[in-house]
Symmetry: C2
Subunit: 335 residues, 2 copies
C-alpha cells in the first residue's frame, strides 16, 4: 500500500506538505500543490480519509437529517450547517426524510456502522421517544454526537438547539395587534409536527402573557397537505366557512404565502381585511406582493451552535444540552 | 478487531443476516434486528463501511456540489438526487459552493483523497476548462465518476446532464407571443453563469427558429445581485429607463418573482402591461399572485439520469456522455 511518506519522497516535499495539500489546509504554492496531487495520483495513493477513519475509529462526516429540504428554512439551515462543519474540516452527509419516521429510524439503525462523527436531526415530526432514546444511547456509546435542531430532545440525552417559540409568537402577535388585526388564528401543523406543536404552544403562551382573550382565537390545523398548498387550502376553507379572524400567524413563509393567495382569490385585501405573519423570513418573501412580514429563524445562530457542539465533542468536553436561539421580526407589508 | 462473524456468532444469526441488518437491506424481524444491533454495539463492532471502503478502494458516498442551495431548483435537485443515490445504497455528501470557483477547485483537489465513489457537479458558473479537464482525468484514473448537471462538459470527458434550453425557450416565447406580449427581454446572468449563458443562447436560437425579430428583443443582464433581488433590481431599472419590452423570460422563478414585484411596484399590471415566464416551476410559484407561469425543470429526470450513470459505473460500463432532459410549460397567470 502506498503511504503518505511514499508520496512525499517522490514529490520531494515533507510529509506535512503532502498532508496539507491533500487536506486543502494551509498555504501551498500552486506548483507544489500540483506536483503533490500528480504524484499521489500517479502512485495510486489511496484515501487517507478512509485510513484516518479507521485509525480514529470514526470518520470526518456528519449526517444531517432533514424533514423536507424543499421547505425554505431547511434549505437555509442546510447551507449554513454545511459551512459551519466545513470550518471544522468536517463533511456533511445529507438525508432527506420526507417527513417519514421509518426513514428516520432506518437511518439511525445504520448510523453506528457508517463511520460517522455525528448526526444532526433537523426533523420536525413527533417521534417515538423511547426508540429514539435507545438510539441516542447507542450512538453515544460509540462516541458519536447526536444533535437535535428544532425539537427539545434534551430530556432524551440529545443536545438540542431550539427556537424561542414564545418570543417568536410574541413578535408576531404584537405586530398583528398593533395593526388592529384581531382575533387571530394559528395556521400550521400541530398534531404530527413537534416543531409545529411547540410553535402553537408558544402562540398560546404569548397570548396568555399579553392577557389576550385566547378563546377568541382559532387553530387552523393543516393535515394532509404541505407548504403553500396547505396554507392555501386551510385558509380558503376557513374563509369560505366564514370567520372573525383578522390576523394569521403562519408556521412557515410557504404557508403564509398560500394563505395570502387564498384571501386574495376570495377578493379580500391583505393586510386590510386579513393580515399574515410568516415564519422563516425567507429571501423570496420580500418579493411576494404584499411582501411577507415574518419571524426570522436565525439559521446562522443555529449553525454556530452546531459548530460549537462538534468543537466541544472533538475536545471531549460535555456538550451544552440546550441552546435557545432568539428570533427577530422582519416587518414588511403583509401585517 | 471485532468482525462481522463475531457479531453473527454472539447474536446466533448468520453473517448474511448481520450484514443485511447493518446495511438496512432486506426484510428482518424487529427482534432479530434489535438483537444484532445490540450485540454489534456491545462488542464495539466498528464501521463496516470504512472497512468496505478500504477493501474496495473507495467509499459509498457521492459528493454533490451545488452552486447555491438557496436557489429553489438546486434544492429540488438535491432532494431527488439524494433519493436516487439511496436507491443504489449510496450516500450523498453535500457541498454548497456559493458560486465560488476557488471552493470548487479546492474541493476537486481534495476529492481523490476522500474515498468517494463519484462527484456530481451542479454548478452553473463558468469554469477554467483546462483545469477542470485535469481534475476529470485524475478522478477517472482513480475509478471515480464525475458528472456535470446543467452544463455541457462532455467535451472535457465529463458525462453531462443538461436541459434542452432551446425547447425551454420556445415554450416560454410561444406562450408570451400567443398572449400578445412583444417584444421580449431575457432576464438572467449570462456572463458568469454557463447555465445562464446556455439558456440565453437557447432564447436567441428559439427566436431565430420562430423567425422573430430578435433585434427588437433585449438582454437584461444580472450582475452583482442574486435570485429575486437581482430580478427586482434589473427589471426596476429597465422600467425606469423606459422600455418597449412587454414580455420577460426569466432565468429562474426567483428572478421572475423579483421582476414582477418591480413591475407591480411601479404601478404596472402583470401580465397585462408586462408578462413574465419563470424557470423551475417551483412549488411556491403557484401561490404568488399573479401565479408564476414557468418552464418546468424536470428534476426527476435529472435524478434518474444520475442514478443511471452510477449504475453503469458500478457495472463498469461506459457512461452515457450526454443526456438532454426535456422541459414542459406550467401555464399559470403571469404570462
Amino acid at each position: 500500500m502506498v503511504t503518505l511518506l511514499d508520496v512525499a519522497r517522490r514529490a520531494r516535499v515533507s510529509s506535512a506538505t503532502v498532508s496539507r495539500v491533500l487536506n486543502g489546509a494551509g498555504r501551498i504554492s500552486e506548483s507544489t500543490r500540483r506536483r503533490v496531487i500528480e504524484v499521489a495520483t500517479h502512485l495510486g495513493y489511496q484515501p487517507n480519509q478512509v485510513a484516518k477513519s479507521l485509525r480514529l475509529g470514526r470518520g470526518r462526516s456528519v449526517a444531517l437529517l432533514i424533514g423536507d429540504i424543499e421547505q425554505g428554512t431547511y434549505m437555509a439551515l442546510t447551507k449554513r450547517v454545511q459551512m459551519a462543519l466545513q470550518a471544522l474540516d468536517l463533511d456533511l452527509l445529507l438525508f432527506n426524510l420526507d417527513h417519514r419516521e421509518d426513514r428516520l429510524f432506518g437511518f439511525l439503525d445504520r448510523a453506528p456502522t457508517m463511520g460517522l462523527l455525528g448526526v444532526v436531526m433537523a426533523v420536525p415530526r413527533r417521534m417515538d421517544g423511547r426508540r429514539l432514546a435507545r438510539h441516542a444511547e447507542q450512538l453515544r456509546a460509540q462516541g458519536m454526537l447526536l444533535v437535535a435542531v428544532g425539537q427539545r430532545l434534551n430530556r432524551l440525552g440529545v443536545p438540542s438547539i431550539v427556537h424561542d417559540e414564545v418570543a417568536g409568537a410574541e413578535l408576531a402577535i404584537d405586530r398583528l395587534v398593533a395593526g388592529g388585526h384581531w382575533p387571530l388564528a394559528y395556521l400550521g401543523r400541530t398534531l404530527t409536527s413537534a416543531t409545529g406543536g411547540a410553535r402553537y404552544r408558544g402562540f398560546r403562551a404569548a397570548l396568555a402573557a399579553r392577557g389576550a382573550d385566547a378563546a377568541a382565537c382559532e387553530l387552523w390545523e393543516c393535515t394532509d397537505k404541505y407548504r403553500a398548498e396547505a396554507g392555501y387550502h386551510v385558509v380558503g376553507e376557513a374563509l369560505r366557512r366564514g370567520t372573525h379572524v383578522r390576523g394569521v400567524v403562519a408556521m412557515s413563509d410557504e404557508m403564509a404565502l398560500g394563505g395570502i393567495a387564498a384571501a386574495l382569490d376570495q377578493g379580500l385585501a391583505v393586510p386590510r381585511d386579513i393580515a399574515f405573519v410568516g415564519y422563516g423570513a425567507l429571501d423570496w418573501g420580500g418579493y411576494a406582493r404584499p411582501a411577507l412580514t415574518s419571524v426570522l429563524v436565525n439559521a446562522d445562530a443555529v449553525a454556530e451552535a452546531v459548530e460549537e457542539l462538534f468543537r466541544a465533542h472533538r475536545e471531549a468536553q460535555e456538550p451544552r444540552t440546550l441552546t435557545i436561539v432568539q428570533p427577530a421580526l422582519v416587518a414588511r407589508a403583509s401585517a
